[in-house]
């Protein structure tokens, strides 16, 4: 028996399916291997070509061969068929391949469902506003394709699109209810596969010449901060990241050993703020120097870095407070002192000699720090993202010959000089400054604000921050990196913008993005609890939530149903009786097509069921009289006649 699903597709339907397959697969081209995009694109183009030319679809064996080929390719590329990247790749190929198997409506339905599923997979890769808009557009078109496939050639493009839009608009209340009330789980909505967190940029846990200046060339946002009160002045915004104490002559590293939290004494009342960190795959929270209160799952380590228990693999919001003026470890433990005085032997002799001469003149740490800062201030040092390459005795070369460097050069050189002069010192990585978005009051800190500075230890005063960059390029602290660097440096265009309207536009876009992050993506269990308690449902557990959800959805459905029922055209009694007669005929294997007139049906009954015909003739006559003649007495006759059908 043939069913609707087995009906052949009409010629107008495939373009809708090509379109929806293209929409569903296209954004994956941004991250999947090129061969995969090309392969699926070729499959799509082939299917479209066959449709255009009315060609024969490829046979089963060819398709099986293609599937094997695709699987082999994916295995070679990803070493697995599972996981996020391989799985999505496989889906993309299979969805494109199904287009070559498009024979009946059933196949078309499979394609539509695959497209819906593929759309969902985009959230594995991006949850930004453009992605959301793209998915909305795609869902609209895929739904239109579904309508077109089911409705056949009668569906014209514009009414079909309008119909799909109406359907989606009707789904909107349900979407909102589900979004607000579906029990939230902490962490991502679905368990992301292991490979989902690769390729995030951010500060690294080592520092070598060039590492920060590379990072600075990215305009990406590192984190956003909202202060509870007036934001502190820009010069004091040192966002503290990894502290590097070990030096091998070229690279600065973290001290690997476990370091416990130390004593910190705030000298002024702390500033509280909320930071929304972008994923950076490291554990540090980039608190303002120096953090005093931290969220529950994080702690300070011995170098005053706020560390989370787990690495920050997704956008995260933390509440912090920091003391901008503090005293830290005025009596430092000897191993730390030793560690922060160590230098590899035999390198940079000229620098060592210079530091030695300072110490002989005046051995007090403060005097030595001042000497070093005077050196940087007075000898035509310049601040640049493109310093010359340095050799083995890099610091000597930098201090006495090239004198061109970026913050990591100055911080490293300064710490080297301090240690050589007998003052414990270390390099601190992090970010400095940030840009206030006047539209939403968030301070935006970008990768281009990455910075490195130094810390020296003085007995009685503890660790004191010294930023040699501040004497070389004071503008770096006061106005930001774009003003501190000379023209023509390879900074991202985004942060070099000087035109006011462009800057406003960027601020607006970032404020919108931030609102999206904070309110839509950042709608976590805690926010849900807050919302629910405002709605009068304090401490709702998931059972209660499910109950509320079900009740609300049922209410919505009831309203929609009542509305539809209310607006339903009233069934004419004659028509109802006629339907009963038709059901009677159907039991006798006579089907009435919707377009068949009663007389045409009667003629058919007369030829196929002569015994039934006289009784049915009475039904037809009474029905026509009642329905089209609007004669009341015919209605009774119809009732009688239908009853008398054998």
């Amino acid at each position: 028996m043939s069913t609707i699903a087995r009906l052949a597709l009409d010629r107008g339907a495939p373009p809708w399916l090509f379109g929806s397959a293209l929409l569903a697969t296209a954004p994956h081209a941004l991250h999947q291997p090129i061969w995969l995009s090309l392969f699926s694109g070729l499959l799509l183009a082939w299917a479209a070509w066959l449709w255009w030319r009315d060609g024969r679809l490829p046979g089963r064996w060819l398709l099986i061969a293609l599937v094997v080929l695709a699987c082999a390719g994916i295995l070679l590329e990803f070493r697995t068929l599972f996981g996020r990247d391989a799985g999505v790749g496989l889906l993309v190929i299979l969805a494109s391949m199904k287009l070559l198997e498009m024979k009946s409506r059933r196949d078309a339905m499979v394609i539509v469902i695959l497209d819906y599923f593929l759309l969902l997979t985009h959230y594995f890769f991006s949850q930004s506003i453009p992605t959301g808009l793209w998915l909305l557009l795609s869902i609209w078109l895929v739904t239109a394709a579904l309508i077109r496939v089911s409705g056949g050639a009668v569906c014209r493009p514009l009414p079909t699109l309008r119909h799909a839009g109406t359907l989606l608009a009707q789904a909107l209340p349900f979407m909102i209810v589900l979004y607000l009330l579906f029990p939230r789980i902490s962490g991502p909505l679905w368990g992301l596969p292991q490979d989902a967190h690769s390729g995030k940029t951010g500060l690294s846990d080592t520092m070598s010449p060039g590492s920060i200046s590379d990072l600075v060339q990215s305009g990406a946002i590192a984190f956003r901060v909202r202060f509870d009160g007036e934001p502190p002045p820009r010069q004091q915004l040192y966002w503290r990241g990894p502290v590097m104490e070990l030096f091998d002559g070229r690279i600065w590293r973290l001290h690997p050993g476990p370091t416990a939290a130390e004593r910190i004494e705030a000298l002024r009342p702390p500033v509280s703020y909320e930071t929304t960190l972008e994923a950076h795959s490291q554990r540090w929270l980039l608190a303002l120097d120096a953090p005093v209160t931290l969220p529950a799952d994080s702690a300070l380590n011995g170098t005053l870095t706020a560390l989370s228990r787990q690495s920050v693999d997704q956008r995260r919001r933390v509440a912090l407070s920091s003391a901008l003026s503090y005293r830290f470890n005025p009596d430092e433990r000897p191993p730390v002192i030793t560690r922060n005085l160590a230098l590899p032997a035999g390198i940079n002799p000229r620098s060592r000699a210079l530091a030695e001469s300072w110490r002989q003149r005046d051995a007090s740490p403060q005097a030595i720090v001042d000497q070093a800062l005077r050196l940087f201030a007075g000898n035509e040092f310049s601040y640049t993202l493109r310093p010359p390459l340095l050799g083995d005795n890099g610091l000597d070369q930098f201090l006495f010959e090239t004198r061109r460097g970026f913050c990591e050069h100055y911080a490293a050189a300064f710490v080297f000089l301090m240690r050589a002069a007998g003052v414990p010192a270390r390099v601190v990585g992090g970010y400095q400054g940030g840009e206030m978005n006047p539209l939403d009051g968030y301070l935006v800190v970008r990768q281009s604000d990455a910075h490195a500075w130094a810390e020296v230890w003085m007995a009685g005063r503890g660790w004191v921050r010294v930023d040699p960059t501040s004497v070389v390029a004071p503008a770096r602290l006061e106005a930001g990196i774009a003003d501190a660097l000379p023209q023509g440096e390879p900074l991202p265009a985004l942060i070099q913008i000087r035109a006011d309207w462009l800057r406003t536009l960027r601020h607006r876009w970032e404020a919108v993005n931030n609102a999206w992050n904070q309110h839509i993506l950042g709608y976590d269990p805690q926010r849900q609890r807050e919302l629910l308690s405002r709605l009068g449902l304090p401490d709702a557990d998931w059972r209660r939530l499910a109950f509320v959800l079900a009740t609300l959805c049922a209410l919505l459905l009831a309203v929609v149903t009542a509305w539809t029922l209310y607006h339903r055209p009233r069934r004419d009694p004659a028509s109802q009786l006629w339907q009963r007669a038709l059901r009677h005929l159907r039991r006798r294997q006579v089907d009435c097509a919707p377009w068949e007139t009663p007389h045409a049906l009667l003629t058919r009954v007369e030829s196929t069921q002569p015994l039934l015909a006289p009784a049915f003739r009475r039904v037809v006559e009474a029905y026509l009289g009642a329905r089209y003649g609007e004669q009341q007495h015919q209605l009774d006759a119809l009732r009688q006649a239908v009853k008398q059908l054998p």
Binding site: R156, W595, T597, G625, R627, Y628, E630
Partner: protein
């Protein structure tokens, strides 16, 4: 009046005023009862008829015969490429004796006008006739002259692909309530035709079965045939389907919807019913809709198959 016959049952009903007309007509034009019925329904609905076919198919005979049977005053205009508007509507001639102009009415001043091969004339001349059809009056030299009632135009045209034709534009086609095609007679009818030696002479001997003065009354009776709400729903659904169907370039106009209902009423009345049934609508849809719709593929007028597909896509409410 017989209530529940769908089609072709008028001849069985002796009281129906048009039974004899239909009988007589099908004896003159053999093997075309449906087309004759459509033509008469068109006339009863107060519309004008366009007959499209190759030369020699009996178009003129049909017109002639109808004029005779219905007792209508008949005139015939042979459209040629040099025909002028005044040749149709008439001219004023100066009469020296009376020292004034006298209007000599053109052939359009008749109750049944046969416009033969209308698409051979230039658009200007065509439009003179079509204006008369629409207005029921003619304005010549600033003076408006009413046309006789009833006023019924049967235009014939050759298929557009023939040489030397000016196809009627859409707007003017819309003024014809129906367009029918006679087509070749079937074997049996052709045999009878050949044996009898042609029907044209026979029409001369026909006497009128209906008085022309009765026609307006009958027409108003037709217009009062009941069209119940579900029937109007059906007409509306059909018209909407033509607008949304990808098979056609554009849909039927509201005027075409009215025409469809009027034709269905006439069809029902001819079947002896006082109410319109979906069967009537289905029966008149092809002659009413085909010349008003353009096929999306090819661009010609809608084919009978396309209309059948359309009918199958609309459920009867």
């Amino acid at each position: 009046m017989l209530m529940f016959s769908a089609t072709n049952s008028v001849s069985a009903n002796h009281r129906h005023p048009f039974a004899a007309v239909l009988d007589q007509a099908s004896q003159v034009i053999l093997g075309k009862p449906t087309e004759i019925r459509q033509a008469i329904a068109c006339l009863l609905a107060g519309g004008h008829l366009l007959i499209e076919d190759l030369p020699g198919m009996g178009k003129t005979t049909l017109a002639h015969m109808l004029a005779r049977l219905l007792g209508l005053q008949f005139s015939r205009i042979q459209f040629t490429s040099d025909l002028l508007p005044a040749d149709i509507t008439g001219v004023s001639v100066y009469e020296r004796e009376q020292n004034q102009f006298r209007f000599i009415p053109g052939p359009v001043f008749a109750q049944l006008v046969l416009a033969d091969e209308i698409n051979r004339a230039t658009p200007k001349t065509q439009s003179a006739l079509l204006e008369a059809m629409e207005e029921g009056q003619v304005t010549i030299e600033g003076q408006t002259r009413p046309l006789p009632t009833p006023f019924f135009v049967i235009a014939t045209q050759n298929p557009a692909h023939q040489i030397g034709t000016f196809p009627l534009p859409e707007s003017q086609l819309d003024r014809f309530l129906m367009r029918i095609e006679l087509g070749y007679p079937d074997r049996q009818a052709e045999r009878a035709l050949l044996a009898s030696g042609g029907q044209r002479q026979q029409t001369e001997t026909l006497s009128s079965l209906i008085a022309a003065s009765d026609l307006p009354r009958l027409q108003s009776e037709v217009a009062s045939v009941r069209a119940a709400a579900p029937l109007i729903d059906y007409v509306q659904a059909l018209v909407e389907a033509t607008r949304s169907s990808p098979a056609f370039q554009h849909g039927l106009s509201p005027r075409a919807g009215l025409a469809l209902l009027a034709a269905a009423r006439a069809w029902a009345w001819l079947a002896g019913r006082d109410m319109v049934l979906p069967d009537d609508v289905q029966a008149v849809l092809p002659p009413v809709a085909r010349h008003r719709l353009r096929s999306a593929q090819g661009g010609g007028h809608a084919s009978a198959e396309e209309i059948a597909t359309l009918l199958r896509s609309v459920a009867i409410p």
